[in-house]
Amino acid sequence: MSASHAELRGVSKTFPAAGGQEDVHALGPVDLDLAKGEFVAIVGPSGCGKSTLLEVLAGLTAPSAGSISFEGRPVKGDVPAGIGVVFQEDASLPWLTVWDNIAFGLRRNGTETAEIKRRVREALSFMGLDNFAHAYPAQLSGGMRQRVCIARTLVLEPRLILLDEPFGALDQQTRLLMGDELLRLWRTTGATILLITHAIDEAVMLADRVAVMSARPGSFIDMVTTGWGVDRDSRVVAATRFGELTARVWTRLREESLKSLGRGAGRVRVPAELSA
C-alpha cells in the first residue's frame, strides 16, 4: 500500500429540509485517506451518514463543504471512470438476463464483443453463476442478484470499489461466504475497497482498517487497524484477536448507537443480574 488513492478533506453534507424545518446536518466534517489496494470498512449507527459518505466519494452527491479526490483528480458532479459502486438495494436490471446484466457496462463503454464474452464468462464463474447466465433476476435469490450486481461492477475492472451494505439482505452464513468471495476478488484485482456495513464482525473480518463513525452528523471517532494478512478469509472469526477487535469497535459504537436511538448511555436500565 502506498500513495493515497482517494481522499476526503473536511467533507460535510447538509440536506435542506422542506416545510420550514431545520436543515439536516448528515455528515462531517470528515477526513479520510484510502491507500491504493487498501480494504477499509466503515461502521456506524443507523442514519449516521455512512451511505452519504459513500455517495459523496463516488460523485453521486455533491458535498456541502470540503473536497474529494480520486487518483489525484477532484471528484465533482460526475462519477469518475475507475470507480465502481455496489448498492445496498437490488440494482439488477429485471428486463435483462444475468449475462446481459453483467455485460451492461461493458457494452456501454464500447468493449469488443470477444472481450465482453471473456470477461462475463470469467465473472459468472467467479461468482458461481455459470448455470444462471440466461436466467432473469426474478428467477434468482436475493443473494444471487447481489452477486450479479457485484459481477457487473467487477467486469469493468474498477480501481476503487465502493460497497454500500452489499450483504445487508443475506443470512449470516451466506454473508460469511460472500465475504470470502469479496476477499478473493480484492486479492485478484488489487482494487481499493471501501465497504459500508452495519455488521461489526463483517467489517473486522474483511478490512485492513475499520473506521467507526459517530451518530449523526457522522464523523470518525476511531480507526481500528486489524492487522490481518492479505490471504485472510472468514476463518479469522475464530482468532482471539477477532474478539478483541470486535469488542473494541462495539465499545466505541455502543454509545453512538444509543445516541442515534435518542437515549444516552446513562439512561439505559441495566438488569441487576448483569450489573452485579
Partner: protein, 250 residues
C-alpha cells in the same frame, strides 16, 4: 395449454352452447337474440361479400390513428408533467376527475372544429385514451427505482441513454398497461361515436341494422367487433404476461 386456460375456454364455449340451445329450442325469441351459429354464418357471408369492407377499414383505421396519437401524446405529456413538479400539482386533480367528463357532448363542437369527416371520431377516441396513457406514464416514471437512476450515473450515461436504457424499460410494465387501456378506449370512443353520430364505420352499420330491424346483420357485426377486440386484447395480454413473467410479477 394450461389447465386454467382450458377451464376458461370451456366456460366460454359452454356459455355459447347454452345460448345456442336456448335460441334453437325457442326459449329465447329470434327477434331478441339469434343463435350464435347463425350470427357466425351471416358474418362469414358479409365478410365474403365485401359489403362491410369499407366500414371495417374506416373503423379500424380511425381506431389505429386514435391509439397511436393517444400513446405518443400521452407518453410525451406524462413525461413533461413528471419532469415539472409544479405542473404535476396543477394537473393531478384534473387527471383524477377526467373520466367523469362525458366526452361525447363535445362531438358537435369537434365536428364544427374538424369538419364532418373521420377526425371528430379520431378525436373522441384520442380524448378517451390519452389520459389513461398520461396517468400510466406518471405511474411508471414514479416507480423507476432510484437505485437504477444512481446506476445510470455510475455508468456515466447521458440523459438520453438513461431514458432509453434504464427509465423506459423500468417503466415498461406501466406504459404497457397505459397502451392497453388507450387501445380499449380508442375502440370504445370510435365505435360509440360512429354508433351515435357518424354516417360510416362499423358502429354506424350496427346502428343502421338496428333501426332497420335487420337482426342478422346487427348481431353479425356485433360478433365481429367482439371477436376483433377480444383477439387484440388477448394478444396484448399474452405479451404483457410474458413481460411480467420475466420480471417475476406475473
Amino acid at each position: 395449454m394450461s389447465q386454467i386456460t382450458l377451464v376458461r375456454v370451456a366456460v366460454i364455449a359452454g356459455f355459447v352452447l347454452l345460448i345456442e340451445a336456448l335460441c334453437r329450442f325457442g326459449a329465447i325469441n329470434s327477434l331478441t337474440l339469434l343463435p350464435p351459429s347463425e350470427m357466425a354464418a351471416h358474418l362469414l357471408a358479409l365478410l365474403g361479400s365485401g359489403e362491410i369492407n369499407a366500414a371495417i377499414v374506416s373503423t379500424f383505421s380511425n381506431v389505429a390513428i386514435a391509439f397511436v396519437l393517444s400513446v405518443t401524446a400521452g407518453f410525451a405529456a406524462g413525461a413533461v408533467i413528471h419532469a415539472l413538479p409544479r405542473l404535476r400539482r396543477l394537473c393531478d386533480p384534473l387527471l383524477a376527475s377526467y373520466y367523469s367528463v362525458p366526452v361525447f357532448v363535445f362531438y358537435p363542437l369537434l365536428v364544427s372544429l374538424l369538419g364532418l369527416n373521420r377526425w371528430p371520431l379520431v378525436a373522441i377516441g384520442f380524448i378517451f385514451g390519452v389520459t389513461a396513457m398520461v396517468i400510466a406514464t406518471l405511474n411508471g416514471l414514479d416507480r423507476v427505482p432510484r437505485v437504477l437512476l444512481k446506476l445510470a450515473r455510475v455508468h456515466r450515461m447521458s440523459r438520453s441513454a438513461e431514458a432509453l436504457r434504464i427509465v423506459l424499460p423500468a417503466a415498461a410494465p406501466y406504459l404497457f398497461t397505459g397502451g392497453k387501456l388507450a387501445l380499449a378506449y380508442a375502440f370504445i370512443g370510435v365505435i360509440a361515436g360512429e354508433f351515435i353520430l357518424s354516417g360510416g364505420g362499423l358502429g354506424y352499420a350496427i346502428a343502421y341494422a338496428y333501426e332497420a330491424f335487420d337482426n342478422r346483420t346487427m348481431y353479425a357485426l356485433m360478433l365481429f367487433v367482439l371477436i376483433v377486440v377480444t383477439a387484440v386484447n388477448a394478444a396484448f395480454y399474452v405479451w404483457e404476461q410474458r413481460l411480467l413473467r420475466r420480471r417475476g410479477r406475473a
